[in-house]
Amino acid sequence: MTTPLIELQRVRFDYHDRTVLRELDFRLAPGDRVALIGSNGAGKTTLLHLLVGLKRPSAGRILAFGCERASERDFHQVRARVGLLFQDSDDQLFCPTVLEDVAFGPLNLGRSPEQARADALETLDHLGLADFAERITYRLSAGEKRLVALATVLAMRPEVLLLDEPTNGLDEATAERLIAHLDGMEQAMILVSHDWPFLARLATRAVRLVEGRLVDAILHSHAHAHRHSHPHPHSADELTGPHTSLEHRHPH
């Protein structure tokens, strides 16, 4: 068995005397693309934030790249190798121009301004955002912001990608672009999303966060994995699993 990139051992997390995660074990192997699903408020975002040290567990161990990580200093190295895409891109973009924002990470990693600029431009070009370099970040549309936020993460050339609802608020064409791009990448990923078609296209396995623990889930692909609605009866127990058709999310 290959050594995992990231491992959580019996991790507990309490938030305002509510236990969000309890005795949670998790392993992310190289090449894994794990769909992390669960109801609203189940602790999916918390789990991602634990992995990069933005939150600290109340108990348990976090191992990343073969070492136990506990202090802020430990996590500096982790953050250089693990890219987190935030749920709200407005939280992520803060520089005046797109180019400066994308170059922010590379500069922090100690690359020279010339190298950082080249990295940023290359990443933007790769995402089809070459014309965006001089745009003002707060004047971008929601979809553009999400892609630029992804560029800011990818410019650091992370080995692991943590994506927190990446397709949220994206139109179909933009989502498709994002999926196609992610599909071409070899990095291990954790995908938090409620967008079943997105998960079905990318994920290699799925885990569900239930009452603070992770249980394996099955991500099955329907033959009709498309997004228009048509009558399609589901039994109640079927709806508890991840699904590639969206019908049951809309009344019809």
Partner: protein
């Protein structure tokens, strides 16, 4: 969500094309020299110079007037009170109040100086994008923490404003109309409170995102300085004019002039 809430002075012409560092430095030098002037004649010349700068920066008269008006309101109080509160030879009497000539001269000087400095600031610094100003300050040696604070504030003001607009829309969507009653004041109180709480939470998330990208308290800049020959020329020209201003002031103070 398209425009920045900070009103921007649109300018054009050769001043706007100058290096931000030069403009900040020139504004500072102008302000220092103008404040130190002792004679109405030279101060009026400084005001003329500032007006010339404003015209050269291509500022619209309406923008200028609107901003100066805010200053003049304050100046009005000064002009009305200073002659009566400054001791000295009597200028005129108003009932039991006596206005002094010293107070009149003082008010006139303050009026001229304040207008000159504000005009020059608008022409030289007001036409800078806030971010360019922040970067110029950084490159002039202002501590990193202060320039970060300025840049972050600019960024946050926009987000807080956007949040405010969203919250107010949500209130209006539920038929909220401001009145002068308890309900309105309480609603506004909640709006402000919610705005503060949300802004703080957002600032924390922003900080988290920055830490995720390796931020450790130091911002690195991407831009490269582009000082041009025109900037040197403009710096020399401004230095000559400011020198002339000081010389004129000194000359006016000599006996027999």
């Amino acid at each position: 969500m398209t425009a920045t809430p900070i009103p921007h002075l649109a300018g054009s012409g050769w001043i706007v094309a100058r290096d931000p560092r030069l403009r900040v430095g020139a504004a500072l030098a102008f302000a220092l020299i103008t404040v130190g002037l002792d004679h109405p004649g030279s101060t009026a010349a400084a005001l003329g110079l500032a007006l010339g700068l404003a015209l050269a920066a291509g500022l619209k008269t309406r923008d200028l007037a609107r901003r100066l008006l805010a200053l003049e309101g304050f100046m009005l109080i000064l002009v009305l009170t200073l002659p009566f509160t400054t001791p000295g030879a009597s200028w005129f009497e108003l009932g039991s109040l006596s206005a002094s000539t010293a107070g009149r001269d003082l008010a006139l000087m303050i009026l001229l100086k304040a207008n000159a400095v504000v005009l020059a600031l608008m022409a030289l610094v007001g036409t800078l994008e806030p971010v360019a100003l922040g970067q110029a300050l950084g490159r002039l040696g202002v501590p990193d923490k202060l320039t970060h604070l300025l840049l972050m504030t600019i960024r946050q003001i926009h987000l807080i404003h956007a949040e405010f607009v969203r919250l107010r829309q949500a209130m209006r969507a539920r038929a909220f109309v401001p009145r002068t009653d308890r309900h309105t004041w309480r609603a506004y109180g909640w709006l402000m409170g919610m705005l503060l709480v949300r802004s703080l939470a957002r600032a924390e998330r922003l900080m988290d995102a920055m830490r995720c990208r390796g931020f450790r308290g130091r911002l690195y800049r991407l831009d490269t300085p582009h000082w041009q020959p025109g900037d040197t020329l403009a710096a020399l020209g401004l230095m000559t004019l400011l020198g002339a201003l000081a010389w004129l002031d000194h000359g006016l103070g000599l006996p027999g002039v």
